[in-house]
């Protein structure tokens, strides 16, 4: 009873005195005082950055066999997707196994065909499609200025839910199900429990958040049921039943308010609902969401002390050529795009450290002195190599959502200077010619006067 009363009081305090709700920044190992982590949906590294210069992208000559056991059936080469309509490709545990093919990595097309369905072969070919700077100019511009990870693997060789569980718990959650449990999670620890115990502020920002949707109300959630997957805290009974904890899950608008009011929490996770880039959704909408988040951070007072990272919850069925290391029974899955934006991020670095979602968790735990949650995050390599804390923070800059256009042709300054100097010299010459006789006459007069007197 007392605990509940304290929780209610704490909640009231949080609501009524927002400016003072968050205490002074807790001590950190690095200049990073705020960490934001967004998880988008369903794209592999090669699908987004396969042609990015100096990254481990699509190998030349790649051609994925339609059936690895029958080379005569031909193969599918990577091709530019552009604005071509796409489908939601299969991306569950079975698909992974079929595409991975015990490390041979040549089942990306055949796994889809094997699953059958309408236009299976046509859809299967899509897996070899890729985007590039023309389609993702903002992401590529971010990669050029900050850090792009090209060995960042999804934690689980499975679909969305299990990877989301790794994202917040460093475990697969329910190893037998890649979906929200029917009874919710009980005592499973999350990174937010660790933060809460340490008195470190945190929030979970959700785009288009609907607080009525959770694992208990999925039946009536309709199109918004994905909220229970993308926001795994909504599958934890204690986070649903404790008003204080529940109050930490807020709409994305609160993020912009927090930036303005100076109430940005120390650690924040973010989930999209509507701009997740989940096929067949618009990848440009996802870009806009990320850019809006980054821009707001860029022009806030938090720029110098923050880091924002986003990654993708799984590969979405798309081709990726790097065979993921199998660190335990559940993963890794295929590589996913991951990028880091921070005043301390190395400039234009392609970071090739082997990482997964728990590597981000590792950085948070190290930075704020938190104990690990599970074996995976305890063993993970931190993303710290992407930062350079030896240099002062870089000044904020808005990056364009357009491809860098070639600089306009600059006029030749030498021609300009020569032309106008010539004009002045010409005019002065004419003036000298006009005044010349007068000057000469005056000189002669002076000379005669001098001579006559001497």
């Amino acid at each position: 009873m007392i605990t509940r009363a304290c929780a209610v009081l704490a909640l009231l305090f949080t609501i009524l005195v927002p400016g003072q709700a968050i205490a002074a920044d807790p001590p950190t190992q690095t200049p990073i005082k705020h960490f934001l982590f967004l998880l988008q949906e369903n794209h592999s590294f090669d699908n987004y950055f396969g042609t990015y210069p100096n990254a481990d992208g699509l190998p030349p000559g790649t051609c994925m066999p339609i059936d690895p056991t029958k080379p005569s059936l031909g193969c599918v080469k990577p091709f530019h997707l552009g604005s071509q309509p796409i489908s939601d490709l299969l991306h569950n545990r079975e698909t992974f196994v079929g595409q991975y093919l015990n490390g041979k990595m040549d089942g990306f097309v055949s796994a889809h065909i094997a699953a059958g369905g309408l236009n299976a072969e046509q859809i299967a070919r899509l897996t070899m499609g890729y985007y590039d700077a023309r389609d993702l100019p903002y992401y590529w511009n971010v990669a050029n200025r900050y850090v792009l990870f090209d060995r960042f693997f999804s934690s689980a060789a499975a679909g969305s839910f299990m990877n989301h569980m790794y994202w917040i718990t460093a475990t697969p959650g329910d190893p037998n199900h890649d979906s929200p449990p029917t009874t919710g999670f009980g005592d499973l620890l999350t990174i937010f429990d660790r933060l809460e115990s340490a008195g470190i502020s945190w929030k979970f920002y959700v785009q288009n958040y609907d607080p009525t949707i959770n694992y208990r109300t999925l039946q009536n959630a309709g199109d918004k049921a994905a909220q229970a997957v993308f926001v795994p805290l909504l599958d934890f009974n204690r986070f649903l039943d404790n008003p204080y904890l529940f109050s930490h899950i807020v709409d994305m608008e609160q993020y912009y308010t927090d930036l303005r009011n100076g109430t940005l929490p120390t650690v924040a996770y973010m989930a999209p609902l509507g701009s997740s880039e989940h096929p067949p959704g618009s990848i440009q909408a996802g870009q806009r969401l990320v850019q809006t988040i980054v821009n707001a951070l860029t022009r806030s007072d938090y720029w110098d002390t923050s880091a924002f990272m986003w990654a993708y919850d799984d590969w979405g069925g798309w081709y990726d050529h790097v065979s993921p290391p199998q660190v335990d029974t559940y993963g890794y899955g295929f590589r996913v795009p991951a990028l880091l934006v921070s005043a301390y991020a190395r400039q234009g670095q392609v970071n090739s450290t082997t990482l997964d979602y728990t590597s981000v968790m590792k950085f948070i735990e190290t930075n704020w002195g938190l104990p690990p949650l599970a074996a995976r995050d305890a063993a993970a390599t931190s993303i710290a190599s992407a930062f350079d804390f030896t240099r002062p923070p870089r000044p904020p800059a808005f990056l364009s959502a357009s491809l860098a256009t070639p600089p306009p042709v600059e006029p030749n300054r030498a021609v300009l200077y020569a032309a106008y100097a010539a004009a002045i010299v010409l005019a002065l010459g004419l003036l000298l010619v006009a005044t010349g006789p007068g000057l000469v006459a005056r000189a002669v007069t002076w000379s005669r006067a001098f001579r006559s007197r001497t």
């Binding site: 912009y256 303005r260 806009r288 850019q291 809006t292 821009n295 707001a296 860029t298 022009r299 720029w303 000044p395 904020p396 800059a397 808005f398 990056l399 364009s400 959502a401 357009s402 306009p408 042709v409 600059e410 006029p411 030749n412 300054r413 021609v415 300009l416 200077y417 020569a418 032309a419 106008y420 010539a422 004009a423 002045i424 010409l426 005019a427 002065l428 010459g429 004419l430 003036l431 010619v433 006009a434 005044t435 010349g436 006789p437 005056r442 007069t445 002076w446 006067a449 001098f450 007197r453 001497t454």
Partner: protein
């Protein structure tokens, strides 16, 4: 040396008849002969007299007796002081009124553009990314400013250069006046120009009209020298100076009409066709580097200049037809204009080539810009020196003396002339002092000075917005200022997407909604100056603020008296951040 008609007898008879006739300008005689051959002879006499007096001083300096040498030196210094001290004082006053609180307010839009161009020519790393080298006008002034900007871009430096050119114009006005009407007229003309609000205001700004006026006055001077000496080389030099006038600002070419009008009206000024052709050729040769640099330097200059010319020819009027009469005339000085006109009217019977030349120099630009649909405050600046000269001439000729009163006494009215000169100078000095004193207002006339809050808002933008920010303003004027001081790109909402209705230097915001939604436009700037001119776009701009989570992040205010007389802080520039 005395003009023959200036005898005391004639003078006394004239003024003793009655008071009104004594105050008539026509009752007085000019010191200068009016027909050109006589003028030539007079000039020669003056020249010899000068040489003679100088020779006396020079010879005595070489005398073996020290005392005599010292005396000669003292005399020479005294003569020099008497001759030049008034001019030095005038130039000192001209300097003071031009640099007083010179940089209290930041640039206006035109200043920002020209300084931005100069910075681009000087390859300033930031501004050269924002301001194109080629815009509308030739680049003579920007070229000179660029040389200064190689040592650092600063608004004060630009304005100081403009001031120096303004002072040179005052100096030149003295020589022009001395050439045409004598030393006193030159001094009075220089003093009027030194204090004239119109010239003071414009020559404190980084505008092209100040340098153009200087070069136009030089052209006028050289033309007058030609009229005085009948030597063709002066006409060629005038052609060269006219070429430079064009290079300062292309509208200066209008004054070519004034030269031809003068030559047409004064048939006694003999000009050979060959000389006229050579002078015109000299002008074209000096102008030639402008089109040549456009073509040879690359960078799209030729195309942009062509677009600008087409737009300028067909753009809509921006002021009503009485703009110059109601705005520029008071700025020149109502009394100055009145005295100049009075001089032309009352001295019409002894009108000389000088009056015709000056009148042409005034009337032709007025007629042209009155007919030209686009009007600008500073466009008529080249008429300022000739108007000052005409007024100075009238004042010089105004010499009231002894007058018979009804009760039989004679009264000496010679004090009226210095009084008239003082009245004219005070009439221009008072508004000038009011103008140069720093003041703030919520409204603004293009070309009339700096914009309150513009520099400070730009500095805020520079310090507080991330690199790569894009700002939307009501119109391009504030956009230019924020670009110069803020080092960020800015676009005016009012710039028309129709190429026929917009200055080709500006790019329109075809779809601001899309730009904000795509995070390509992050700040919206409202300003009272643009809002007062375009209520529609000001209201439209605020719609975007409301629609896209607008939040005021910076406000510039000015202190203005309220209706109740209490000073209040009034916002003049408000910067909002917006997001999708």
């Amino acid at each position: 040396m005395q003009p023959p008609a200036r005898t005391g007898k004639v003078w006394w008879q004239a003024i003793s008849r009655n008071l009104p006739s004594a105050l008539r300008f026509g009752a007085l005689r000019s010191r200068l002969p009016q027909d050109p051959p006589a003028a030539v002879a007079h000039a020669r006499r003056m020249s010899l007299a000068t040489v003679r007096s100088t020779r006396i001083g020079a010879v005595r300096i070489w005398s073996p007796q020290i005392g005599e040498r010292a005396l000669a030196l003292a005399r020479a210094i005294a003569t020099t002081l008497v001759t030049w001290l008034p001019l030095v004082v005038i130039l000192a006053v001209a300097t003071v009124v031009r640099i007083w609180s010179l940089n209290a307010l930041g640039y206006n839009t035109d200043e920002a553009v020209y300084s931005g161009q100069a910075a681009a020519i000087a390859q300033d790393p930031t501004l050269s990314q924002i301001f194109p080298v080629f815009r509308a006008h030739p680049l003579l002034f920007q070229f000179v400013l660029a040389i200064v900007y190689h040592y650092g871009v600063s608004d004060l430096t630009g304005r100081l250069l403009a001031v120096v050119i303004g002072l040179a114009t005052v100096y030149l006005a003295y020589f022009l006046g001395r050439l045409m009407y004598g030393h006193a007229a030159g001094l009075i003309a220089a003093a009027i120009l030194a204090l004239m609000p119109y010239h003071v205001v414009v020559s404190r700004q980084v505008l092209l009209d100040g340098p153009m006026t200087f070069l136009a006055t030089l052209t006028l001077y050289l033309t007058a020298k030609f009229a005085t000496t009948q030597r063709a080389s002066w006409l060629y030099a005038a052609g060269g100076a006219m070429g430079l006038t064009f290079l300062a600002k292309e509208t200066g070419i209008v004054l070519l009409g004034a030269v031809y009008t003068f030559l047409a009206l004064r048939q006694d000024i003999r000009v050979r066709i060959r000389d006229l052709v050579i002078a015109t050729g000299a002008m074209l040769v000096v102008i030639a580097p402008f089109p040549m640099s456009l073509v040879l330097a690359g960078g799209g200059g030729a195309e942009r200049t062509r677009q600008y010319l087409v737009w300028e020819l067909f753009r809509r009027p921006n002021h009503d037809w009485i703009f110059y009469a109601t705005v520029v005339t008071p700025s020149i000085g109502l009394l100055v204009v009145a005295v100049a006109i009075a001089g032309l009217v009352f001295l019409r019977r002894r009108r000389g080539w000088q009056d015709v030349l000056l009148a042409s120099w005034v009337v032709v630009p007025i007629a042209f810009f009155q007919l030209w649909p686009v009007k600008g405050f500073q466009y008529l600046l080249p008429i300022a020196p000739p108007v000052a000269l005409l007024a100075a001439r009238a004042l010089t000729e105004f010499r009231p003396g002894w007058v018979a009163t009804p009760i039989g006494w004679a009264v000496n009215l010679s004090w009226l002339r210095p009084l008239a000169v003082a009245a004219v100078l005070i009439s221009v000095a008072v508004p000038t002092l009011a103008i140069v004193s720093p003041s703030a207002s919520g409204t603004f006339l293009a070309g009339s000075g700096g914009v309150p809050g513009g520099r400070e808002a730009g500095a805020w933008v520079d310090a507080n917005t991330p690199a790569g920010s894009h700002l939307m303003t009501i119109g391009p004027s504030m956009a230019n200022i924020l670009q110069f001081y803020g080092h960020r790109s800015a676009s005016g909402l009012s710039v028309s997407p129709n190429p026929l209705q917009r200055n080709p230097s500006y790019d329109p915001l075809k779809n601001p909604d899309l730009l904000i939604r795509n995070n390509e436009l992050q700040y919206v700037v409202w300003d009272s100056f643009s809002a007062s001119r375009s209520g529609f776009f000001a209201s439209k701009l605020l719609e975007y603020v409301r629609r896209y989570h607008g939040r005021a992040v910076h406000t510039e205010t000015v202190t203005i008296p309220s209706a109740s007389g209490v000073n209040v802080e009034s916002p003049v520039i408000v910067i909002y951040e917006v997001r999708p």
